[in-house]
Symmetry: C2
Subunit: 345 residues, 2 copies
């Protein structure tokens, strides 16, 4: 689609560009007849204001900062696409930063974004962030922040999460229904909101099905999957247990692929010897050997909703009395990595 500019409108209507520009921003210097002419033509031609021009006009920078742990993670890259599609349509730029699961970098990114005068922040916490002062101070100063997915419990602002408990419950129950009894859980640091919720769902599903919870089947990877050796050690420890698991439920993207790699290296047959379910938005789950059963988060929709809430905070600066925490549903997509045990036994 061709983009129509102010110049094009001016040429078509035989007006100066400055007249068109002032008419579009409803300036008192332009008479109503001209305004009507310009606005109708602009609408007909599907004119979209240029975000740069907008930002020069307003005092706002018309930009949103995004701080996420890692872009090379399918959930986060899809989330960013959701954020960008709404932001772009509403005339905002999106500035992306990675924390690389480091608290120090998260703080540095936050400070930089504030120094560059972004209008608001969308944040998913790094797995090593326990002190939240850098965000609390900003909120106190009136900076709009919306948290996504990995959210702080004790900060009062809008949050977009998924129903991690249910997603995890459903995955674990599926493993039980397909005949697994020794179900391990490979997850991120215990203090992350998503870890606690996913662990609780896993535990509840076990207990509801008469399987006692066994702490030795739970492995925490403190770098959230970023350190391959840590992930590999965790999987190896599970394989070395006196009664090794017959299924592993992995709680994130990288944990899932690392786990699958180790199982393949060790010639552990999936799903015959070990079923596998991953909490991952990988776009290539069906290309895997075997195709992988996944718990998928509505990442694009989460990006949309978080961005809409953030822009609402930016454009209506009166502090809302109630902040929302929206919890979206995950989907369990069943593939061959969890085929019924009896079929293979």
């Amino acid at each position: 689609m061709e983009t129509i500019t102010i110049k094009d409108i001016a040429r078509a209507l035989n007006l100066s560009t400055s007249t068109v520009s002032r008419a579009l921003r409803n300036s008192y210097e332009i008479n109503n007849e001209t305004k009507k002419l310009v606005l109708e033509y602009a609408e007909k031609m599907n004119y979209r204001p240029n975000p740069i021009a907008l930002s020069l006009r307003d005092s706002k920078s018309k930009s949103i900062g995004v701080i996420i742990p890692e872009i090379a993670n399918n959930f986060f890259s899809q989330l960013i696409n959701g954020i960008e599609s709404i932001a772009y349509n509403m005339g905002y730029h999106v500035v992306i930063f990675q924390s690389h699961e480091s608290y120090e970098r998260e703080v540095a990114n936050t400070n930089y974004l504030v120094s560059r005068k972004v209008d608001g922040l969308l944040v998913s916490l790094s797995s090593l962030t326990r002190d939240l002062t850098h965000f609390e101070e900003l909120l106190d100063k009136g900076m709009p922040i919306v948290f996504i997915d990995r959210v702080p419990k004790n900060i009062d602002t809008h949050k977009i999460v998924v129903d991690n408990f249910f997603g995890s419950y459903q995955a674990t129950e599926h493993l039980i229904k397909t005949g697994r009894r020794r179900i391990a859980h490979l997850t991120s640091p215990f203090y992350l909101s998503i870890t606690m919720e996913r662990l609780a769902g896993y535990r509840q599903a076990l207990e509801d099905n008469g399987i006692p919870f066994d702490e030795s089947y739970v492995k925490y990877c403190h770098h959230g999957g970023m350190m391959l050796t840590e992930n590999e050690t965790a999987v190896q420890e599970l394989l070395n247990l006196p009664e090794p698991p017959d299924a592993i439920f992995t709680a994130s993207d990288r944990l899932t692929t690392s786990c699958m790699s180790v199982l393949i290296q060790k010639n552990v047959k999936i799903p015959e010897e070990m079923a596998l379910v991953g909490f991952t938005n990988t776009s290539v789950a069906e290309l895997f050997n075997p195709p992988l059963t996944t718990v998928v988060q509505p990442a694009i929709d989460m990006g949309h909703q978080a961005t809409e809430l953030l822009i609402r905070l930016i454009e209506h600066p009166k502090k809302p009395t109630i902040f929302e925490t929206r919890s979206l549903q995950t989907s369990l997509i069943i593939r061959d990595s969890t085929v019924e045990k009896s079929v293979n036994a």
Copy 2:
């Protein structure tokens, strides 16, 4: 690792923070003895200046803008990690933007980054960019720009590329050596530098092995892989040829995974009926069914080198008389998707 701040140094040496700060930046207001004390202590404690503080002190913003087509592409996400590791160590922030393979967005991103006063740009062109005025104007104004991977032929600045010709030649020759004769090539728009070079390597390998080049075996996807239906149609057209190919060499990340998806859907057996080599940095090639033979680009090293060149341009603003184009080598990683034909026949 704990970060030591100016405050910590001041406390330890019983000086004011402003004295420490001025000593660290070698101010004439501070005597040499104090300077020595502060510098030695800072070195001992591994003090690293905070990029924010640096940017407030210098007139520079201490930030680098990166414009790439898409972060959800393994090559680009690895490239960004290479960029960030050097930039961070040299005290620069990295601001990431996606063009989504759109010329319009690439121009908008460029304008925004310039309006936010970044010190330089690292760019990989969108697949729909043919007009380069937005970059030419910036270079004329003295903005340092280094292009990576998808580079413009007629702009004179530093460029980091890979030897696409050789990478492509090697992949095609490997397919010929494993017994394939009807080798198709699925690629991006013909006018991109990487497309032309990869096509030339493919063509040369065919001709050097006595296989005539056949245009009907080459499919161009004008959205560079972003439009799944376009990729799928291209693969389907290859399968519908009177003499369908016995191998497909795909020229990018998404083209590779789309192609593999279609082949699986259509029950085309890989590698028995169709061998597959992908020009992709996917981190999960060995998890695929079958594990995928890939041509891998040294993405992290490309990021390192491009960032070093850019920071040199930023910090030594005298225009160099000669710009470099560095060409790095790709690696062919052979996996089961190209197992010898005779073994399977």
